[in-house]
């Protein structure tokens, strides 16, 4: 039997969460160091998995399978393919940088890291799950800690409202998808929750067309699809920095990924029937989200709505049902995860020092924190899809796929790039450059060394993928081949 590396990745965070309970709550340094060690370990292993994934061979690798409840065909079955391997890496990176950024939390840090790590276990679990029951199991583990993390450590003004709204939205989505999953289980007649078996279940066309919307939208709620995106900006804004990073960076991918894995891959005919109109919803995401982001004056809301816009591109990539679209969407999930984690980290750093996020009240921060300004500019270039950065590698194939599918949608969606550029440049101009308002002069210090490490890690990844796409594209492509095979080689 091979080394169970995926299980170790999945259970590292929750084991760390249990260990944290053994440390007395007032010994904060020990708590933080333990958390950081666990996060680093998880990131290291996830990078290990990513770099040893054999793109040439494709398919599911590092597979582990154990019986869980054989009577009902439930098994603990995990493995990664070309689409989930980058997402596992993403989770490891965001977890590590999230812990670094959260060093300054001094209200019950033990509980904070405990809930954050339970969340991380859920996220890792969903990305590697190959069993439908296991996927739901981990999916819900990833949803509920969010409530406490936002409600307890979030922004005082909106945290209770936003946390409850987010939790209920996501829970409604997941339980509706769960009923769809159960329907698939019984309709298949295979007495198994194993997704690799369900892929070949040959559900009838009527069944697929009926259940696809339940499953797809149930998960896509977490991916922020219009008109169910409403929880997302509120949730992002109310959450503490590390949780926003996790949330926008990883959790939204969880929704898109599960919608792909369960919705599109298990119900391909349903997908082919419904996606042509779903692409219009995603188009609204892209353009409307970008437009709303442009008119916000709150720094964090700008980033929150930009996530809605960028996640729309992921959905569009799926909905084209083309090779280019899927590849772009796969890379976009990774690229956007890193980029938005960086954005939220920057917002948190600025807010911690200025105690305001109103863009007109800020200015000249590049002088006080030059590295943060550089990092934000790099993130901004990714966001606009500049060549040489990971955003280009992601968005270009999506637009290519879209052009093949319906040129006019590609043209409309391209407007978002212009709008994105406008709000990113506006932020760079008025937050980091210009004159610093008087009340801030002399009061704004640079960020800590730990913060800098986090920013550098995130920037290096975005530039690496942009400059040397071969580090990611072949892996994603091998995963896309599996999806296309299910779709009947479109």
């Amino acid at each position: 039997m091979q080394f169970p590396i995926l299980s170790i990745i999945v259970f590292t965070p929750i084991t760390a969460a249990v260990l944290l309970q053994l440390i007395p709550s007032e010994r904060m340094t020990e708590i933080r160091v333990t958390a950081l060690a666990a996060a680093f370990f998880a990131m290291f292993l996830s990078a290990w998995v990513y770099f040893s994934y054999d793109a040439g061979a494709g398919g599911y690798q590092f597979v582990e399978k154990y019986d869980w409840l054989p009577v009902l065909g439930i098994s603990y079955h995990v493995g990664v393919d070309g689409i989930s391997a980058p997402l596992v890496l993403l989770t490891g990176v965001v977890m590590f940088t999230g812990v670094l950024i959260s060093w300054g939390i001094d209200d019950r840090p033990r509980e904070f890291f405990t809930f954050l790590f339970i969340l991380a276990t859920g996220v890792f679990g969903v990305f590697v799950a190959l069993d439908l029951f296991g996927l739901f199991f981990f999916y819900e583990i990833a949803v509920f800690p969010m409530y406490l993390l936002i409600a307890i450590w979030g922004w005082k003004v909106t945290r209770e409202y936003a946390a409850m709204k987010l939790t209920l939205y996501l829970f409604i989505g997941s339980v509706i998808a769960l009923v769809g999953g159960l329907a698939m289980y019984f309709a298949s007649g295979l007495n198994t929750f194993d997704m690799l078996a369900l892929e070949n279940a040959n559900f009838s066309r009527e069944f697929q067309i009926f259940w696809f919307p339940f499953v797809f939208f149930g998960f896509a709620v977490l991916g922020g699809i219009f008109p169910f995106h409403n929880w997302s900006p509120d949730g992002h804004v109310a959450a503490p920095t590390a949780v926003s990073m996790f949330h926008a960076g990883v959790l939204m991918k969880l929704g898109a990924f599960a919608a792909l894995r369960v919705g599109i891959m298990l119900l391909p005919e349903g997908a082919q029937f419904h996606l042509p109109w779903i692409i219009l919803l995603a188009l609204v995401n892209v353009v409307y989200g970008a437009y709303i982001a442009m008119v916000q004056t709150d720094f964090k809301y700008v980033i929150g709505f930009s996530s809605v816009s960028h996640m729309g591109l992921v959905m569009i990539g799926f909905a084209t049902l083309t090779r280019e679209g899927f590849i772009g969407a796969g890379v976009q999930m990774f690229s956007h995860g890193i980029m938005t984690a960086l954005f939220f980290a920057v917002v948190g750093m600025v807010y911690d020092r200025a105690h305001t996020r109103e863009i007109p009240e800020l200015g000249g921060f590049a002088r006080a924190m030059p590295l943060v300004a550089v990092a934000f500019i790099i993130g901004g270039l990714v966001s606009m899809g500049m060549p040489g950065f990971s955003g280009f590698i992601a968005e270009f194939p999506i637009f290519m796929g879209l052009w093949n599918y319906r040129p006019w949608i590609a043209i409309v969606a391209a407007i978002s790039i212009v709008i994105t550029a406008s709000y990113i440049i506006r932020i760079i101009g008025s937050v980091f450059f210009g004159d610093m308002p008087e009340q801030f002069v002399g009061h704004i210090g640079d960020v800590t060394a730990l913060d800098k490490v986090a920013l550098v890690v995130l920037c290096v990844i975005m530039v690496s993928v942009g400059v040397y796409p071969s580090v990611m594209v072949p892996i994603v492509e091998s995963g896309v081949n599996g999806v296309l095979a299910l779709l009947g080689g479109v």
Partner: protein
Amino acid sequence: MIGNVTTEMILAILPEISLLILAGIVLLMDVLWDEERRRGLGWLTAAGLGAILVISLAAAQPGAESVRMWGGMIRHDWLSFVFKMLFIFGAGVTALFAMEMRELGRRGEFYLLLLVSTIGMSLMASAGDLIMLYLSIETTSIPLYILAGFFKRDNKSTEAGFKYLLFGALTSTVMLYGFSLLYGFAGTTDFTQLTQIVLDGELPLSLVLGALLLVLVGFGFKVSVVPFHFWAPDVYEGAPTPVAGFLSTASKAAGFAVLMRVLIEAFPVAVPYWTAILAALSTASMTLGNALALAQHNIKRLLAYSSIAHAGYALIGVAAVSALGITSVVFYLLVYVITNLAAFGIVSAFSRVSGSDEIADYAGLSRRSPGLALMMLIAFLSLAGMPPLGGFVAKVFVFAAAVQQELVWLAMVGVLNSIVGLYYYLIVLKVVYLYRSEDEDKPVPLTRPYALALVILIAGVILIGTIFAPWFSWSEVASAALF
């Protein structure tokens, strides 16, 4: 072997016999021990129940076939056995919770009544005859009426006991009327013969259904399902907290045991008609229970309404009337008993220190006692149906049973209700974790019996939620006894 009593017959009622002996010992020790040592009665009861659990598991396991014994009065099968173990476990935990309560923990009669009621429940689960069923239901209920009103000087407790008695007496009369009709039509009280007579078509189905509806009133009261739920909130609020915990778990599970046995084993012909009735009751229970729980300020009332809702979820599985359905109900009840006992234990531990059951007074609990707060988090999230806790798996199984029987709409009602449930459980957890209070520097110490019981329960909730195969196979053999 004495006369025509065989060893098997003794083994079939071994738990009941041991419970009776334990009750005798408790009564004796109550007289022999002085006031100071009587706290030991709680340990004695809990340890005795633990021993009975172990002995029964080791010696009294039934065979695969359901066996009629004691002149058809007793069914010895896995369904009754699993439920008996559940009742004994629940009673043991309740004894541990009660021993630290003022006016409760040092009273021998409290433990005696608890044990007698447990004997009644055990017989309920194994009754194979209408007369036996009625007697066991009364043996269960009468001690519970007294237990609910145990705090004689407390008006609310007295009210709870009295209200419970009135409701109980009324519904039990209606049920008895149903029994008498069945006997009058069929001329027998034995389930097996009743089944045969109905199958042979000697009785018009409409008559049987009418009589069964009357019987359902009694069962509905026991499981506190809408519209027979009115007693629950007031009784839970007024009754001593450990008793409320016992009422909402073991007593409810006993109600489900008889409901399933009478419905599926005794009257299989009526099954198609039951599905509609039970699905309606289930929908009403879930919806009303959850909706009313939203408005509660008192944690015990909240748990009362939530327990009404949980009866509704469990009924989904009964309404599915299938092997998977009954399995899922048994599994659901296993999880529910453990989780809800934990919830009531936490409430009891907290009110012992703070003297309050108001949800608002739980503010700052996570700072006062992080451990207790974490246990509350686990118990409440399990009630809400979150993994990796027992509640999630249990809910998935009942919904699966509904989907399997083409009752997708019922599963949808269930999942939508579980969202409402999540909302009010989260509101409580928000108070616990988020709100500040002036008493933050006052810790909430856990005494040893509480710590022991709660750790067992919480570990159980997590264990069932992650390694569910052994519990599921237990539930499966239990349901196999009915089909």
